[in-house]
């Protein structure tokens, strides 16, 4: 029965081809440092899942953001767990992604033929930092408010166009409800959409080119 269902699906979806192309591949024998990429992917997925759950209760306005977070922490069943995972996951993701980059650098894996994989990886790292920066404001507490004030000031110190950047980021001269809604939109729509596309490219390249091997002394 199960075999029949599988065959029926395979005929239409090409499951066997996917299995052959992705799972049943020969790859070089590597060490544990090579798990950091998938660890980052896992953390990214966790951020996505917990983030979507948080968006059920979170309200991106200065009047309600703080209280909605308090409500998630105290009033929602397992809200503390979801928020806790999202909070700590962000830090861990930056850490794993960064060490992943150092591993790639150390083994020279950014060289031919994986140059584009490297470039998309750098984009992902910067994107993750952007997610961290925008997400930091959302709880609308003292820490996030003042860190974002200083952070946007730093962006505003760019010669010439600094003031324009500052006003675009803040939606005005000061941090306000507009800043919060902009950061919220960046955090849950714009960055994730871009990141998703880049992650898929990154993964496609990793599968297409195979994971790099550990170089020996004469290479």
């Amino acid at each position: 029965m199960a075999q029949n269902v599988y065959d029926w699906l395979d005929e239409r979806l090409g499951l066997q081809a996917i299995y052959d192309a992705i799972l049943d591949r020969e790859v070089p024998k590597v060490n544990w440092w090579f798990t950091l990429g998938s660890a980052s992917l896992f953390l990214g997925l966790m951020q996505g899942i917990t983030g979507i759950l948080l968006s059920v209760y979170y309200v991106p306005t200065p009047d309600h953001a703080y209280d909605s977070i308090t409500y998630i922490m105290t009033g929602v069943k397992f809200g503390w767990l979801i928020l806790g995972i999202h909070h700590w996951g962000a830090s861990l993701l930056i850490l794993t992604a960064f060490i992943h980059m150092l591993r790639v650098f150390f083994y020279g894996a950014y060289k031919y033929p994986r140059e584009v994989t490297w470039i998309t990886g750098v984009m992902l790292l910067i994107g993750a930092l952007g997610m961290g920066f925008t997400g930091y404001l959302l709880p609308w507490n003292q820490r996030s408010y003042w860190a974002t004030t200083v952070g946007t000031e730093i962006a505003g110190s760019v010669p010439g166009i600094g003031n324009i950047i500052l006003r675009i980021l803040r939606g005005g001269t000061d941090l306000s409800a507009l800043t919060l809604s902009r950061f919220f939109s960046l955090h849950i729509w714009i960055f994730p959409a871009i990141l998703l596309a880049v992650v898929l490219t990154h993964l496609y390249l990793v599968i297409r080119l195979g994971i790099s091997n550990i170089p020996d002394e004469d290479s």
């Binding site: 798990t35 700590w88 150092l102 031919y112 408010y145 962006a155 110190s157 010669p159």
Partner: protein
């Protein structure tokens, strides 16, 4: 990269693959194991460390020490070394340069070799950069001032904070019980007759928000200065809230303070044989009735009452203010409503507190304290009591 180098690489990679493993299950298994470990770690962090509770954003509180998320600390710290005038080099040029170098790394590094022994320059540069980042992060963590004292969180702490703030900021005009009266000894408001702020008329008709707003913005046309940080005062939003809470619980008979909070700030009664001490009695009385004016920066003959040492030794009349066993000490005379005159008959100290005398029993506490030589701690006072009985 030249064609033959590409071919050589491919040959090597094929060899490695042949000696290698299957993506499924070997690699996937390792990945899943690590991911599972990370998941356990995340749940553990969420459960046992949690998310720090921070007060709500307060745009008026510019005293807050801003700190970015830890992974931006290195940049934050680095900027401290960049002089203000060329700050944009640190904030803009360098980060952009680093990002560009990262993006272009595969094209900048033309060396076809991959083993670290054959790429010592690159590896060392990266090593220095990473060590620098770690070092700056550590330095930033070490040099950031410890988190400022947590804002009072329990009702009891908040009430006590409110009481302290009331003593320091409000008593000199509004009196220790909000009774008002003619202001004496306050620059610019001398002789203004204040109505009570603790009467039912007042406290019943003003909501907490209104009280907070009045304290925050002041009522300039009636002489009330603004106390909020954003309007030139000294109080943070959370402090104003504590102040309002203190006023509400103390004067509004419709609400009752939880009993444990009520006992915290109360002035302990003195039993018949008991000798008061600075620690238990005097410090609380001084806080409620005196330090509003007897603190630095006020007109008070330089007499400060913030600590035991200050009470005994500060001021223009330090030799006369508190004399062990002498009820003619200036402080005792002043709180009994006498003004102190110098040889020429000029008043050097007016009666204290200037607005309204303290309750009889509080004056009595001061007197017994002076008669027994002003003990500092409760145990000093107890020792005296025992001696007296022998």
């Amino acid at each position: 990269m030249k064609e033959e180098q590409k071919k050589a690489y491919k040959r090597k990679y094929e060899q490695a693959k042949r000696k290698g493993v299957k993506f499924w299950p070997d690699i996937i298994y390792k990945d899943l194991l690590v991911s599972f470990g990370i998941f356990i770690l995340l749940v553990g962090l969420a459960a046992f460390v949690g998310v720090a509770v921070e007060p709500k954003a307060d745009p008026s509180d510019a005293s807050y020490v801003p700190r970015p998320e830890w992974y931006f600390l290195f940049l934050f710290e680095f900027l401290k070394f960049v002089p203000g005038k060329i700050e944009w080099i640190g904030t803009f040029v360098l980060p952009v340069l680093v990002i560009l170098v990262l993006f272009a790394l595969p094209f900048l590094d033309r060396n076809p070799l991959r083993h670290w022994k054959n790429r010592l320059t690159g590896i060392s540069i990266m090593g220095v950069v990473v060590l620098g980042m770690v070092g700056l992060t550590v330095r930033s963590v070490l040099t950031t001032p410890k988190k400022e004292e947590a804002v009072a969180s329990t009702i009891q702490e908040k009430y006590a904070l409110g009481e302290d703030l009331y003593s320091v900021n409000c008593v000199e005009c509004h009196g220790p019980d909000g009774e008002g009266g003619v202001i004496a000894g306050v620059e610019g408001l001398e002789g203004v007759d204040l109505k009570s702020i603790s009467s039912r008329d007042e406290i019943y008709t003003r909501s907490d928000e209104t009280l907070a707003a009045i304290i925050d913005y002041g009522q300039q046309d009636q002489g009330m200065p603004p106390f909020g940080l954003a309007y030139g005062g000294e109080l943070k939003k959370s402090e104003i809230d504590a102040l309002v809470m203190y006023m509400r619980y103390t004067w509004d008979d419709r609400v009752e303070l939880p009993s444990d909070a009520a006992s915290a700030g109360a002035i302990p009664e003195l039993s018949a044989e008991e000798i008061p001490s600075y620690e238990v009695h005097i410090s609380r009385l001084a806080k409620r009735y005196c330090i509003s004016c007897h603190r630095p920066g006020k007109e008070n003959n330089n007499y400060l009452m913030g600590s035991y040492q200050e009470m005994l030794t500060s001021g223009d009349n330090a030799d006369h203010n508190l004399i062990p066993g002498d009820l003619d000490s200036y402080l005792i005379l002043a709180i009994n409503g006498q003004s102190i005159l110098d040889e020429n008959g000029e008043e050097i100290i007016q009666r204290m507190p200037p607005t309204k005398m303290m309750k009889e029993e509080y004056i009595h506490i001061f007197e017994v304290w002076v008669l027994n030589g002003m003990p500092e701690t409760a145990s000093d006072a107890e020792a005296l009591t025992v001696q007296g009985q022998e």
